[in-house]
Structures are given as C-alpha cells and as structure tokens.
Symmetry: C2
Subunit: 301 residues, 2 copies
C-alpha cells in the first residue's frame, strides 16, 4: 500500500513556501526560521483517545492536528509543518489511511500548515496515529509553563468541562487567539488544558515554583459540563476542574496590566479565575474561606 498512498498523499497535501522538500524523500527539509524552532509530538490510540468505530477516521485526523497545534498555541508559536505517522489495522487499512489523511489535510489547510512527511505501517493491532508539529517562536519569545510569577492573574480561555460529549474531537486550537494575545505583551506563562484545569494548573505552579489560588465561583463552566453532570450525578464544577481534553489555554497575566486583557478574542471569552500565590499547591477560594483544592476537581459539600 505504501507507495500508492505516498504518491497520492504528495498530490493531496498543500504545498507551502517554508517547506523546501516535503513528502517523498528520506527526510523533509524546512527553511531555517531565524527564530527558535518549536517542536511538539503526540500519539492518539484507538480506545484511549478516540473510539474509531464511533467517530470514524476523518475525525481522528482532525483531532490529531488539533491536539498538536494546541501545544504550539500554548507557547504562542506559529506552526510551519506537521509529520504524520500511521499504524493502520490490516482490515480496510487503505480506506482508513486515506480518510485520516483527508481529515489531516482539511485541518492543515484551515491553519495554513504544511504536511511535510511521515510514515505509514500496516499491522495487526488497533489504530495508532502520531504527529509531530514544528513551528517557530514568535518575535519576543515563547510563553513557557514556567513563566508564571507570584501575583499574576490566572486566566482561562473558553468554557471548561464535559469535552467527552464531543468537543474533544472538534475543538479549535487557540492559535489565532494566542497570536493576538501575544502581541499585547501581557502574558507571562501558559500551558494548554489537556489533563484538566486542576492538573494542568498544578503542573504550571510546579514549573513556575509557586502556588495558585482559584476563585471557584469564577471558573467558566461549559454547557457540556452541565449536561454531563445530569448523567454522572457529579456537580458541573467538578467536571470543569477535573475533565481532560478541554484544549483551552491556561495563562499567567501580569496583574498590573490585567486591565489590558480583552474580555474576549475571536468570540472566545477570557476569564480571570484567580491568582498565582507564593504558598505552593492549589487553593480554592469561596465565600466560606480558603481550602486545599483537589486537582481532579472533587468538590466536597
């Protein structure tokens, strides 16, 4: 299968100027960037990150691109090219591979990213898809997870929780929002919310050697979290804190420039939900006082 597939893929993929040599040789060649090269890599496995029989191959391709571009967005990097690697189940491998590639192409075209290479394998296991995305750092430098300072505001994009109801497959990586926000120069650190607000915030505080105090009442809860809550019996807030795969951005914004933070960008709300503090760990602030906060979001009544 591989040769016909590669020939087709080469034709199907858009050609973009930063790629000197794309699909078809032993390696790809990208033009030198002048800025730092930003690299991220993610695998998605059938049964863990998607269920192929439910979502279909094209949605897997979309998700794969979005997950990788979300990592670039969280650094405010500009994507250049992606590399796709497929481990296809033997049964219907050709059709599945082609549909995934179509999904990858559609997403890459929307974000003006080149598909510059990859590899395909057919095996006896379930579908595994893999992508490496390469971008360049913005002028002024990337946002890092370790960039938060005591006193910075904790800001999230969008609304959180319940992504398992569908958003985990169809979310929009916050590239455009990140680019506009980076230009304002008010963000000092960032990560994307992939493991869940609580865990990712904890990771950010550890990397930044500080703690976080969250105003629980301010966490933006998605409609999906509310709907999901009806079937799980857990409060919507628990879903907003604990659910993974929101793929929103979690930002540290300079407190003294917080007034410059727009209330929304591209229609996506930006919400201040707390403050990075010197006391390490996660802390929740409610009307009844300050308490230790569970990263997984368990809210005790």
């Amino acid at each position: 299968m591989e040769h016909g597939f590669i020939a087709w893929a080469k034709q199907r993929a858009a050609r973009l100027p930063n790629v000197q040599l794309g699909i078809g040789d032993d390696c790809a060649l990208l033009a030198p960037t002048g800025e730092d090269i930003v690299v991220t890599t993610d695998s998605l496995c059938d049964g863990t990150h998607f269920v192929l029989s439910e979502c279909g191959p094209k949605a897997v391709g979309h998700k794969l691109v979005s997950v990788n571009l979300s990592d670039l967005a969280s650094m405010a990097a500009e994507p250049i090219a992606v590399f796709l690697s497929l481990c296809l189940p033997r049964h219907h491998s050709g059709e599945i591979g082609a549909e995934i590639f179509e999904g990858v192409c559609e997403s890459c075209e929307r974000h003006r990213v080149a598909i510059a290479g990859g590899d395909t394998n057919v095996w006896d296991g379930p579908l595994v898809v893999h992508m490496t995305a390469i971008g360049k750092a913005p002028v002024g430098g990337c946002w890092l997870r370790s960039g938060a300072s005591v006193g910075d505001a904790i800001v999230v994009t969008g609304k959180l929780g319940g992504s398992i109801r569908g958003k985990h497959l169809t979310f929009e990586p916050r590239l455009s929002l990140a680019k506009k926000l980076h230009a304002l120069g008010i963000v000092r650190g960032s990560t994307d919310i992939s493991d869940g607000l609580g865990i990712d915030l904890l990771n950010m505080t550890v990397a930044s050697k500080c703690g976080a105090e969250v105003d629980l009442d301010r966490i933006p809860i998605s409609d999906d979290a509310i709907t999901l809550s009806e079937s799980t019996g857990r409060p919507p807030l628990e879903h907003a804190i604990g659910d993974g795969e929101d793929f929103e951005l979690l930002l540290a914004v300079s407190r003294d420039r917080l007034e410059e933070l727009p209330s929304q960008i591209d229609g996506v709300p930006l919400t201040t939900i707390g403050t990075f503090v010197s006391r390490t760990g996660l802390w929740s602030k409610t009307r009844s006082g300050i308490a230790q906060m569970q990263p997984k979001g368990y809210v005790h009544g």
Copy 2:
C-alpha cells in the same frame, strides 16, 4: 505513570547546547540552525518491526534511534534532537517504558543527540514506539534521493542481506561515514536501504528520472545472507537484493570523480555495483548479458 516517568526521563536525558528547552513543557525549543532543518519520522510496531518478547525493550529503543538517524545519514544531515512517543501495553508499562528510554538514551549519547521531548501513553494494544529526529543540513546541502544523474556510479556501503538474523536491531546508522563522504563532494544523491536494495534503488531511479544497471557479481553479500540462504534455500544474492532493513547507504557518485571514492570509511567498505542509465527501470548485468532485474531480488537460474 506519566509524571514520575517524565521527571525521571528529564534527569536521565543528556543536555546538549542546541536544545534551549527540552523535556517537560508543552513543546521543546531548539536554537535556529542557519541551515535547512532536516526532519524524519518513523514508527516501529511490535510484531512487525520487532518482537518484544524476543528482543526486549532496550533493543527496541536502540533500533528506534538507529532507524531515524539512518534517514538523517542518508541526507548527510547532522542530528540535533529526537522526540520519543510511546504507546505502552498496560502490563508492566513502567518497566517497559523505562527500558526503552534507557536504550534510546544510550544510542543518543553515542551519537551526541539530545532527547528533547515526547509523550507517553498506556493502552490495551501492543507496544508501538515512535520517533521524530531533527537535524540540520550540511554546508553545501543535503543529498537527495532525486540527485542521481545518468552515468553516475551506484555505490553501496557495507554488505547486504539477512539482517533479520540480528543486524536489523543492532546496525550502526552511517552518520559518521556520511559526514566524511559528504566532505569529499563526490556524492550527488542518496537513500538508505530500508525496503531492500532492489526496491530502494528502484525508488531512487524513479525520483531521479533515470534507470539503473547493476553488475550482480559486484553486490556485496553479507555472511548473514549466506547463513540465511542455508535455511531458506534461496540464493544469498536474492537475500542481498530483496531483504529489507540493511540500513546501509545507496549512493550516486559522479563517474568522473569515482577514483576519489575511498574503498572504505571507518572500516565500512564502499562498493561500486553499477551505473545509473538513461533507460528507466532496473537492469542486471551478468556474463550472459543484460536482463530486467526484479526489485524483490528473485534470481532466475
């Protein structure tokens, strides 16, 4: 598992100056190269590219690095960093992950390449490992698969065939050889032999819009091909032409500078086996004349 693993991996991996930011953030940052950025990506699946229960996890780590560095060697690129992605079977995932990483570290240390990032997943399927390697183009530019011209000599490194007997796990990527050979300025095109001499030579002729005429008597046959031949009953030459995963280099060398080609580099023989010709396709030359050559190596008596 992931957090403890990442913390350990971060300590274990060597730090190298080209990596501004390595394991632990959403993306890695590599210093701008000044030269073209060279990128390759490869997945290995249990049961297809290795048998985990036979070779053990560390050998998988070694092979994964070598396969990727072989692609860089075939372009005469200098490796900078690799990115590792693991889909680990649930049973003993921690031990398997750690042993693979150890193998990756050992290989990367030997070649002075940084492990700059990756991701780990635990799932219900068999082991899949994935790597993306990033390098920089040599001054003077990369060797391309499409670089062969009519009249160029066809040259191979090492000896071919029978790698399934062990070499496919333990081979040495030809980075150092490629670097020394590139400095001579006599090579015009290259690929690595991963699918087998016949298929890779055919691919090279297609990319270079020419054909190839091979002197069958000159193909360097490995001892493994001879030993394997005893059990398969197929001639050693068939194994040398048809077997995959030699990971030697297949080179196009300017005919008028062929006398500058060393007979060996680093103890690895360089053998001229034929000529790129204008008539497309693969052709074999023996004492009985010229005949069409089967890419898979079937030798008819």
